[in-house]
């Protein structure tokens, strides 16, 4: 029996999207697998950093066809200026990913612009622009310990997870960078966000070198070298705010392609009639390693704490179930997931759905080629489509929304807008702040409902072009309905302006596809995550460690 993909009505609820976990198709893992497979070469081309930790460095990553270079600038940031918020104007380190190997002139040009971030300009030679701040407590501890000839405390390393956290990685033409369209046909950047993921991979390497350099400067010859096993535990943090939420609404086909690839992978594995002993054992080992991952996941946010304590209970239930039930015959993965749907929370269900993909690279990994959206630019509304058909499209994704009273305060309590001072997306209270006039189109369900109502005055056999000429205000909804006709996972099946909206659910959905772990909400609208925790450093990367680094090794250094 072939198992079908899960229904969009189940998958596309915000509560579930806010419980997604990394999997084989995560963008970081796609990148590390490729670089190992193709034997990329990495080099520290330049490290002109002084004793105070200021200066610049260049790291290159050379693939079969091209070389990319991270140019890092380290600054002396006064304590009071350090903020992860987008309104910040200075950072501990700033970065650009250069397309090729930079000349001295390029470095000079970037030195005058990259430290300014949004206030500077980069060019078509650059693919990304980024910045990072120190984790003050961990940075201090690690530098002190090393400079005194000791290794840092593993428990402290695990409780923070990173020496620096990025606060934005801008790509795709932002601030003058090269457009995504210009690199979309390169094998190594065809999958989404590969340039951004490479940036962070190289930043992690630079941050490690910078920390050792600063410790050496302080401790001289008595300084200890950071033990590689401890270094591996250091990821790169990331603080993520509301800027990410509009992305998944504004790119419905792209978002669909991510979800659809994962759902297709899950359905393929569920459809397997049997599992070999090797596959089952591999799964069970990773399950144990996942339990370690979950136990290292810390959050101070009450909601996430509650989710985590339930997830820990889920992990126990899951381990018990796998002890009792054989995972060899009778569609074992389908049985397991069916059980989880009755017995686990959404956190647990989604963790498991990702985990069953692990033994099956041959079934899953090819789907990474389906995750980009290559045709977004050329979409044209089909004005000849009959109104009856458009109504059906709207009903398919928004049946749940059509009966809501969209004028009721709780249904439209919020409005998304862009702030004048930093041109960043924010979320406000429609009935308390003067923002409605500036509302961004980020409530597709409300807009679809309004379009649907207006369509009632038209005959179902009329072409939609007649309606569009008279009602240009509904054009976006009609365009979207046609655009997502073949993208069943394109629309979130929840109200994105409701009084009960948790924007962090939208952020997590996107971040999980990056491959992030340790989601740590800091409010309902921004969170911190870890990237590349456990990953090999560039010089260590090989086909044997490029894939499962996200799962902590069993019996590694005890905390």
């Amino acid at each position: 029996m072939t198992v079908q993909r899960r229904e969009p009505a189940t998958v596309m609820r915000l509560k579930r999207l806010g419980s997604l976990h990394q999997c084989r198709l995560s963008f970081m893992r796609i990148l590390t697998r490729r670089m190992a497979r193709e034997q990329w070469k990495f080099e520290r081309l330049d490290f002109a950093i002084n004793k105070e930790g200021c200066g610049h460095a260049v790291y290159t990553a050379q693939g079969p066809d091209r070389t990319y270079s991270l140019i890092a600038f380290a600054h002396n940031l006064p304590e009071r200026s350090r903020s992860d918020r987008v309104i910040a104007e200075a950072w501990d380190c700033t970065f650009a990913l250069f397309d090729g190997v930079p000349t001295n002139d390029d470095i000079e040009r970037l030195a005058a612009n990259v430290p300014l971030q949004e206030a500077g300009r980069i060019s078509e030679s650059e693919l990304t622009l980024s910045r990072a701040n120190k984790s003050v407590r961990l940075w201090k501890h690690v530098i002190e310990a090393l400079s005194q000839g000791r290794q840092p405390d593993v428990e402290q390393i695990e409780s923070v997870g990173y020496l620096m956290r990025t606060t934005a990685v801008y790509g795709s033409g932002k601030f003058g960078a090269k457009d995504r369209e210009m690199i979309a046909n390169r094998a190594e950047t065809q999958a989404p966000f590969q340039a951004e993921m490479l940036t962070v991979f190289l930043i992690r390497s630079f941050v490690l070198d910078l920390a050792q350099h600063c410790a050496n400067a302080l401790g001289g010859e008595h300084t200890a070298e950071l033990c590689p096993a401890i270094a591996r535990k250091l990821g790169i943090g990331n603080s993520t705010g509301l800027g990410m939420a509009p992305f998944i609404v504004n790119h419905p086909v792209l978002f669909n392609n991510w979800l659809m690839a994962r759902e297709e992978a899950i359905a393929r594995v569920r459809s397997l009639p049997n599992a070999t002993h090797t596959d089952t054992e591999f799964f069970l080992t990773l399950l144990e390693r996942t339990a370690l991952l979950v136990s290292n996941w810390h959050s101070k946010h009450p909601l996430q704490q509650q989710k985590l304590s339930r997830l820990k209970a889920d992990m126990e239930a899951l381990q018990l179930f796998t002890l009792k039930e054989s995972l060899r015959e009778n569609q074992p993965w389908h049985r397991l997931l069916n059980w989880s749907e009755q017995s686990l929370t959404e956190e647990g269900q989604e963790l498991l759905a990702s985990l069953i993909l692990e033994p099956y690279p041959d079934l899953v990994d090819g789907l990474e080629h389906c995750m980009a959206d290559s045709y977004s630019g050329s979409f044209r509304i089909d004005g000849s489509m009959l109104i009856g058909q458009v109504r059906k499209l709207l009903q398919r994704d928004f049946e749940w929304a059509l009966s809501l009273d969209w004028s009721a305060p709780e249904c439209c309590a919020r409005a998304w807008y862009v702030s004048e001072e930093k041109q960043e997306p924010r979320l406000g209270e429609r009935f308390e702040e003067a923002i409605a006039e500036y509302e961004q189109p980020l409530a597709p369900a409300r807009d679809a409902s309004n379009a649907y109502k207006a369509l009632a005055a038209y005959h179902q056999d009329q072409p939609i072009s007649d309606f569009l000429l008279a009602h240009p205000q509904h054009r976006k909804s009609i365009r979207r309905a046609q655009l997502t006709e073949h993208a069943p996972y394109g629309e979130i099946r929840d109200n994105t302006i409701s009084s009960t909206l948790m924007p962090i659910d939208m952020l997590r959905a996107k971040l999980s596809f990056f491959g992030a772990t340790n989601f740590d909400p800091r409010s309902d609208r921004w969170l911190r995550i870890c990237m590349y925790t456990g990953a090999p450093y560039p010089q260590e990367l090989s086909t044997s460690n490029a894939d499962h680094w996200v799962y902590p090794e069993l019996g590694s250094i005890a905390s």
Binding site: R85, L242, E424, P472, R475, R479, R522
Partner: protein, 231 residues
């Protein structure tokens, strides 16, 4: 200075929205400008001309809802399109041209008194693309106004003439490619835009009307305050 095409698209979408266009029209306006830039035509200059025509002072505070943009919308009588109460908007009529590909026949459709007619070309290209892809007997689209001619099969195009801010009469005519009549001297393609400083600044001024003024409340709550971000 050169700008990425995504920068052009993001800015021109907001700038178009600022004069009262719905988001759906603004998106396609931005695609139209981007397409012009890709084809070596200064789309930012064209859009700036258009926006200044429909709103003379970009710094004016005016609600989108009270916009009079609707008066530039096409009213269709037979093969003639005209704005009932003023000059014709190339965006409202351009999107309608693209939407109505199925009713375009071999005869010329005439658009009267069009502002910034260059903005129409993208939509006429979509029209040609539709005709090619649906085995429609018509394979090219010709757009003409005084001193200017544009021909496209939906993929490649050629233009002859100079940049105009206004056309009294635009003729859009789908037709078949005559023997040996392949498009001469197709346009070169560009992957960066180089608008003038003045146009870029003007577009930014228009776009800024879509941003909510900063308040302390917004700074704290809008982006989410929560726990410390320096630890």
């Amino acid at each position: 200075m050169s700008y990425s095409l995504n920068e052009v698209e993001a800015l021109t979408k907001k700038a178009t929205r600022s004069v009262g266009h719905p988001w759906g029209i603004a998106e396609e306006s931005a695609k139209s400008v981007r397409w012009l830039c890709e084809n070596g035509i200064d789309g930012c200059a064209v859009l700036t001309t258009y926006l200044k025509e429909v709103k003379t002072n970009p710094a004016d505070e005016q609600s989108f809802e009270s916009s009079d943009i609707v008066f530039h919308s096409p009213s269709i009588t037979g093969n003639t399109w005209a704005a009932p109460n003023g000059r014709l908007c190339p965006l409202l009529s351009g999107t309608a041209v693209s939407d109505r590909a199925h009713v375009f026949t071999g005869t010329c459709v005439t658009l009267r008194r069009v502002i910034a007619p260059y903005l129409l070309l993208y939509f006429c290209t979509l029209l040609a693309r539709q005709h090619c892809s649906s085995n429609h007997p018509m394979h090219i689209v010709t757009v003409q106004w005084q001193g200017f001619q544009y021909t496209t099969d939906g993929i490649i195009m050629s233009t002859a003439g100079t940049l105009d801010n206004y056309a009294d009469e635009v003729c859009i005519k789908p037709g078949v490619i005559k023997a040996g009549g392949i498009i001469q001297t197709p346009q070169a393609q560009y992957d960066r835009a180089t608008p003038t400083t003045y146009d870029w600044k003007t577009l930014n001024t228009f776009a800024s009307r879509t941003y909510a003024p900063a308040t302390e409340e917004s700074r704290l709550n809008g982006a989410g305050a929560g726990l410390s971000d320096n630890d």
